[in-house]
Structure formats: C-alpha cells, structure tokens
C-alpha cells in the first residue's frame, strides 16, 4: 500500500512532552528535529533524547524521520552516528545544496550500517533544499541516491536567500515549489512542502494546502497538531472522485479484455494518463481507508 506523507509533524528534539505525545496525533509522519528548533547548548541533550525515544517507544503506523544538523559540523556526524543505529528513522538532510551533499551523507550512513550489522541501504533519506543553489540543483539532488524517499522545500531560509519574505499568496515560492516538484516526479520520489508558520490563521493555511495539492505535492510539513486535519481533509478524495476513478478503472479493464488500450466512459475518451490519475486517486483513498467495502473489493479485483 502507498506510504502516505500528507502530513509530517515537526517535533522539537529536546521536548520530552512532545516526544511522548507525538504518536497520539493522526499525522502520517513524525519528524523529530535536532536542527533549528534546538538551541546550540542543547544539541547533545536532544540527540540523547531522540535516540532513547526511538530505541524505546513505538509510534504505530507512523513513518519516523529525524532532521539532523548540517553534516559539515561535528553535530551532524554525531546525530548520524546515533540515529542510524536505531534503525527506526529516515534521515532528513537539511540545507542540501548539491548531489554531493546527499552522496556524502549516504556514505556515512552506509559506514554506520556496516559497522553495526544493519542491512546496508535500509536507512532512508530525505533531502531538504533551502537555498537558491539547492533549488537550482533539485533535479540532481533528487536522483542522487536510491535511499531518497522524498525531497522537501524549506522556505524560510530560501526566501531569506532570495532577499524577500513570505507572502500570503506565496508567489515568491512558485519557482522553488515547481522545481522541487518536478525534480521529485522525475526521480519517482515524494515532494513535501514547507511549513506554514501562522498557526492561528487556518484560512490562510487551508488556501496554501489547496495550492500545493493542486501543484502536485504529496504533503506538507506541519508545526502544530491543529494543522493535521485540514491537510488530510483537503487531500482526501471525494466520494465523487472515488466513484469516477473506479468507473474509469472498470472501463479500461473491460477494454483490455477486448484487446484495446482505450475506452470510453460517458462519451469521454479514457486513455493512459486518465487511468494513471484514477489509479493514484484510488491508491490514496485505499491508504487513507476511505474506500467503502464494496469499492475495496472491486479495486482489489482490478489490481
């Protein structure tokens, strides 16, 4: 079944209470942060806390991610040494500027896996691009390693690099979002959008989520549990979408039985791209548990 990454909930790595409670929220992924949300003097404490939590606690059904510090510092290397050993989390590399950054991180992960009897290649990675250089190199970054499950945009550093700031409409992010998305799709990995910092502005948040969904993003980083449900609502296919997608899949299956790759439904031609979109809608609905029993049965007979 498709791994959902509609919401990636940030959890500051040195906050014991939030680490304890993170699993009770319905986010698809939990991202423990050792980087910007942890002050310079507490990096060691956060690393021990996330390491012990990952080694002990279960977060059923959640994909776990740890954002490490920049690998050019000793902090980043210490983070990797600790987190890879747990075998529980995807490593999110911050401030990725080029494919070389991904490869350098991958080499260290492979060494730690090998030294600890962990299957080499089993630790996943995510790359966050947060600068002009990173966005321009998104294509080479996204294909740099088979460990990559996704590429994310970090907008706060990016707009600072551009010498602008974030606007409600997000026009300043349009190029970066498009680059990240295209890079992700060309590489066959997920695209995760940046955070929305105004926690109390639900209307603005929903507008941004609708925008990034329309662009094609798989999900969004969220900084407050209150932001989870609006994202899930917007990403949930409607009943009409599901019924239409099932009808498309049935029509194309029927056409295939007749030896044709093209079908018609209600007077409209159905070809490969239409079928691909219907398949994606149904995979999403299945992973979200929104298919009704009968729909689930039909979908299974079609796959």
């Amino acid at each position: 079944m498709r791994q959902l990454r509609r919401t990636m909930l940030y959890v500051p790595g040195n906050n014991a209470g939030m680490i304890k409670d993170a699993g009770i929220y319905p986010a698809d992924c939990i991202m423990f942060d050792l980087e910007d949300s942890v002050s310079a003097g507490e990096k060691d404490a956060a690393r021990f806390l996330v390491y012990e939590a990952l080694s002990t606690l279960d977060y059923p059904g959640k994909e776990l991610v740890v954002r490490i510090n920049d690998l050019s510092s000793r902090l980043g290397m210490d983070d990797l040494e600790a987190i890879v050993r747990t075998g529980k989390a995807v490593i999110r590399l911050p401030k990725t500027e080029c494919a070389g950054d991904v490869l350098a991180c991958e080499a260290q992960i492979a060494r730690i896996e090998q030294e600890n009897g962990i299957e080499v290649g089993s630790t996943g990675m995510m790359a966050a691009v947060e600068s002009a250089a990173g966005v321009l190199n998104a294509k080479e970054i996204a294909v740099a390693s088979p460990r990559l499950i996704g590429i994310a945009l970090g907008a706060e550093d990016y707009v600072t690099d551009l010498r602008t700031n974030r606007s409600p409409e997000g026009i300043e992010l349009l190029f970066a979002r498009s680059m990240v998305l295209l890079a992700a799709r060309a590489a066959g990995i997920d695209a995760i959008d940046t955070v929305y910092s105004e926690v109390n502005n639900e209307e603005g948040f929903r507008a941004e989520v609708r925008l990034i969904k329309q662009l094609g993003f798989d999900g969004k980083s969220v900084i407050n549990p209150r932001q989870i449900n609006p994202v899930h609502e917007i990403y949930t296919p409607t009943r009409k979408d599901i019924e239409k997608s099932l009808a498309i899949m049935e029509a194309i299956a029927e056409a295939a039985r007749r030896g044709s790759g093209v079908a018609a439904l209600n007077g409209k031609m159905i070809d490969k791209p239409v079928v691909e979109r219907a398949r994606y809608t149904l995979e999403l609905a299945q992973a979200q548990g929104t298919l009704q029993k009968e729909e689930e049965r039909i979908w299974q007979t079609l796959t």
Binding site: N15, A16, G17, I19, K20, D21, D44, A45, F48, L49, Y51, E52, A53, S55, T56, L57, D78, E81, A82, R85, T86, G87, N116, G117, I118
Partner: protein, 99 residues
C-alpha cells in the same frame, strides 16, 4: 567515565526530569529524588538512574533528580547527557545496534 564537575540536563517541564550530577567523594550513587509520584515510582526511577550510570562506568556520584513525570527513556537520556557534560567527554559511545 569520570565525573569532573557538576553536570545538569533536562528541564522542569511536564514529562521531563532535571538531573544534576556531581562528583562524590565516597563510593556509591546517592540519589536525592523529588517527584510527585515518588511513592509509586520512586524506586523504579532510582533504578533507571543507577543502571544508566553503571552502564556508563560511573559508580560514585551525587544525583539530584527533579522529576515531572518522565518516561524511562527520558530519564536515561537526561542522565546520559548530564554524565557526558559532567565528565567533559564528547566522544559518545552509542549502544551497538541489535543484529
């Protein structure tokens, strides 16, 4: 691991524990624990602290622990952080991954 100076880790926020470690003159681990749940969990908390220190090779220390309802993994993390800070060591020894 040898404690060279006092080391503190953790906070007084809910679900956390603030651990202060100090070198002790005599052998043994002496724990001063303050916790709202001391009657129910005091012995368990002390055991986690002692076991974690022993794993680090520390057999003599004075410990002040102010607990705010921390899970065992939080207690271990805070004790380790305080121990590394008190010993001024930054060459971290992580457990080997289970095969």
């Amino acid at each position: 691991m040898e404690l060279k100076k006092p080391g503190v880790a953790g906070t007084l926020e809910s679900s956390d524990i603030m651990v202060t470690l100090e070198p002790a003159a005599c052998t043994g681990i002496d724990i001063d624990l303050q916790s709202a749940v001391e009657k129910q969990y005091g012995r368990a908390i002390r055991n986690v602290i002692t076991d974690t220190l022993r794993e680090l090779g520390i057999h003599s220390a004075h410990v002040l622990a102010v607990d705010k309802g921390a899970l065992d993994c939080v207690i271990r993390a805070r004790v380790k952080t305080a121990a590394y800070r008190a010993s001024e060591e930054t060459d971290y020894r992580w457990r080997e991954a289970k095969p």
